[in-house]
Symmetry: C2
Subunit: 476 residues, 2 copies
């Protein structure tokens, strides 16, 4: 579908674009452009962009897309570039289009319980802003402190809260979007309920910059979340721990958090900081309940968790209603990513993060497969942490990036884990997205008609294929 | 966009289609076809269909669409034909394609808390089936006892539960869909979280048969809902009652039900049956809370409701934790529709049901407008009931269907109410859909680019425009 866009546009004069943009919005200095050419994914291709537009107005976004559409220039939409799949990486000849500077809160409506924001606001900044209104925006990806709401919407970001509170999609009421040719529209619904036409906002959520550029977002909010109490359960191995997840969720439990850490994750965390974690354990579950505001219900829910965990072979289960303990444990969970980075740096630098989600009833089988795959590749270290309550696991493959053999074996392990996820009725990506990293795998997950349908929609919305080519849809 | 499909296909021989279908699936007897040519909307055009396919297999659906696609025959997908906007009405030369006989529950997964069903199962039958698993599927449109899950998905049906539990869309995990040309695919996600490609299931939800025919549905379920307690509040007028809704919801309340009945609705109900309703009152609010399983929290929430209602001018507020009282009140609320029909029959037969949804903060203004519109048209009676907690109101216009002047004035009132909804930042349809009834109004609600975008998507998925032409998209 995609012609060689970069060649066609090589000789392109950007002056007419610059004249339409806010002063200083267009940057072509190669070092600045290069510094904006990657997200946080490892081992993804990075092309050479021809320029960076730092939009300071919605009109800048429109002008950039009108120009790109007319001249068939690829456009890579960018927020904070914290993604883990290469979706924001430069492609050759592209204009990088950053909306990070569009970062205002435009409205908080305390009666309708919505807010309208620009895409560049950081998730945590929005959360902080909402506190004074006693409102909350639950989605909390690992990148909560550094990723933008626009990026969260574009990737349908998840996080720790999802097991009870759902994902980004569940909070989007409407979107203002600039289309591939620069036209602008608002899609979604204005009210709590609404069925006037298709809900086209849904198309853009999770589209990773391939269908349009999000410039305005109205989010549904909830009253501030009740305090939660915390339990941890230690298990001899990952299979028994994952079984406890399956069995606990099958009781109809709605914990506000249910996270999983394997032995290797615990070791990396203990090497990274003092979180009061056990020195050594086969696997740990971290559960929280807020009882929907009823402390008694929260206690009952975690008592049920305790019972299930023990029945599944937990060595130890501990409770706490001290918010400090909870904060420390959440901090530990959130430190898995930097702890893994530190570990990788000390062990050859290679790190590939899987993001498989399987039906909760298949978690035991999934972990048995991960263990088996790890045992077949003794020189490769695999650690697994994840959002157990959703069945969303992040097996992470560590390897020596300087050794081509190690790289190849790591890639094989990474792929085998995804294949196991698919075989168990799961998905290759629960929350990190497809991007560049999993574009071949998307073609494996989708059936042939779904692949065609994806491309029909893509052609309808982006007939010249300028939006983020070579990524999510490239192998369909 | 649409050629005159019926003319092109007038001489069409249906024998090759019949040969591909299950025995007896194709019916062409004019009286049978005519009996299947309308839904429950009033005053919508009804064309003459050339046949009715009662699919008993998914292959029947595929064969019908392959044939229709090849021969450019319009297809009108149908479930139980309980819609209120004419979306299931016949168009000239069409094949009516009913999936009502595809009504099995294929799977209930108690660990993943999902079920997979065929589209023709009735909503209430599914609810009953799930009881033995102690699971619930919350969406409960007024038509819960007679409408199909497939129809609920195709219209993104709402209901009484939405104020706390959301709409049909919120429960759809994946859909199996037959496309306009007969190809079949499954869209959506297999797991609690999933971001592999676009979530194309979202396109089909609420598309009213214009993009594909839904033949399989995987729904997310919740644990059986806790018992609720009930309060009713009586007000001197609709503006004070609607103000109480605004103010109560602004406290962050999450009632499991918050319904509104005006004086005329109460009168019609009292004439219809004995529900123990007040003999006369300006307006009544009906609130329920289940406290998310905590009886204390439920009581606290309804105490807060009482306080707000009194502050807004309620004459009387009554509580009950007797399930019989609750059942009777819910039965009363559900009887509004037949009670209105009975009233209409006795008063000239004309009835047009609006379905405006406004932001909750604009309810006072909306009701002031409805009152003002009613006062300007003294020969037209307007009653209003609705899902107040969502801002979703059903002003219903009664008129003498035999008097062209009355019909014209009723249409004007109906339109003025929709216009008021739009002016207040609302939508022309909160849950009933566009269909034939509001196709002109959809064009007014959507901005020009959104209209173009709708048509781009339509052309991409249904290039020959055979799916339910002349309805939702006809005026875009």
């Amino acid at each position: 579908m995609y012609p060689n866009l970069s060649e066609a546009a090589t000789a392109l004069d950007l002056a007419p674009l610059e004249a339409e943009l806010s002063p200083g919005a267009l940057v072509t200095e190669p070092d600045v452009v290069a510094a904006h050419s990657t997200d946080r994914a490892l081992f993804c291709a990075v092309g050479t962009a021809r320029g960076l537009v730092r939009a300071v107005t919605v009109e800048d976004v429109q002008a950039t897309l009108r120009f790109a559409h007319e001249h068939r220039v690829p456009v890579v939409p960018q927020g904070a570039r914290t993604g883990l799949s290469g979706a924001a990486n430069a492609v050759d000849g592209a204009l990088l289009l950053s909306v990070a500077k569009l970062d205002r809160v435009l409205e908080v409506d305390t009666v309708e319980m919505t807010c309208t924001v620009e895409p560049g606001i950081l998730n945590q900044d929005l959360k902080d802003h909402l506190k004074s209104f006693r409102l909350a925006y639950p989605p909390d990806p690992g990148s909560v402190a550094i990723s933008t709401i626009g990026g969260n919407v574009a990737t349908n970001a998840g996080g720790l809260c999802c097991v009870k509170y759902g994902v980004t999609r569940d909070y989007v009421r409407s979107l203002t979007v600039v289309l591939a040719d620069g036209r602008i529209t608002t899609v979604g619904r204005p009210t709590a309920k609404g069925v006037a036409g298709f809900d086209l906002s849904q198309l853009f959520i999770g589209s990773e910059g391939s269908l349009g550029v999000i410039v305005g977002i109205t989010l549904e909010l909830v009253p501030e979340l009740p305090e939660a109490i915390t339990a941890i359960a230690l298990f001899p191995d990952v299979v028994s721990a994952s079984g406890a997840v399956t069995d606990f969720m099958a009781t109809g439990a709605r914990p506000s958090l249910l996270e999983f850490l394997d032995r290797q994750s615990l070791r990396m965390l203990n090497a990274y900081g003092d979180f009061g974690l056990p020195a050594d354990s086969g696997a740990m579950l971290l559960a929280q309940s807020n009882g929907d505001g009823s402390p008694e219900a929260a206690v009952r829910e975690l008592e049920s968790f305790t019972e299930v965990a023990r029945a599944c072979g937990a060595d130890e289960v501990m409770f706490s209603d001290d918010p400090n303990d909870s904060d420390l444990l959440i901090a530990a969970r959130r430190a898995v990513s930097p702890a893994a980075e530190k570990y990788a740096m000390a062990h050859g630098g290679g790190e590939l993060i899987d993001d498989v989600c399987v039906p909760r009833g298949r978690l035991r089988e999934f972990f048995a497969r991960v263990v088996e795959i790890g045992e077949r590749h003794q020189d490769i270290v695999v650690s697994t942490a994840g959002h157990a309550g959703d069945g969303n696991m992040h097996p992470t493959v560590f390897f020596d990036a300087s050794d081509p053999g190690s790289v190849a074996r790591a890639q094989q392990v990474f792929d085998e884990i995804m294949a196991a996820g698919l075989e168990l009725g799961g998905t290759i990506t629960g929350e990190h997205g497809v991007g560049y990293l999993k574009r071949e795998w998307l073609a494996r997950e989708l059936d042939p008609v779904s692949r065609e349908l994806h491309m029909s929609v893509k052609r309808a919305l982006d007939p010249h294929g300028i939006l983020n080519p070579g990524k999510m849809l490239a192998a369909l």
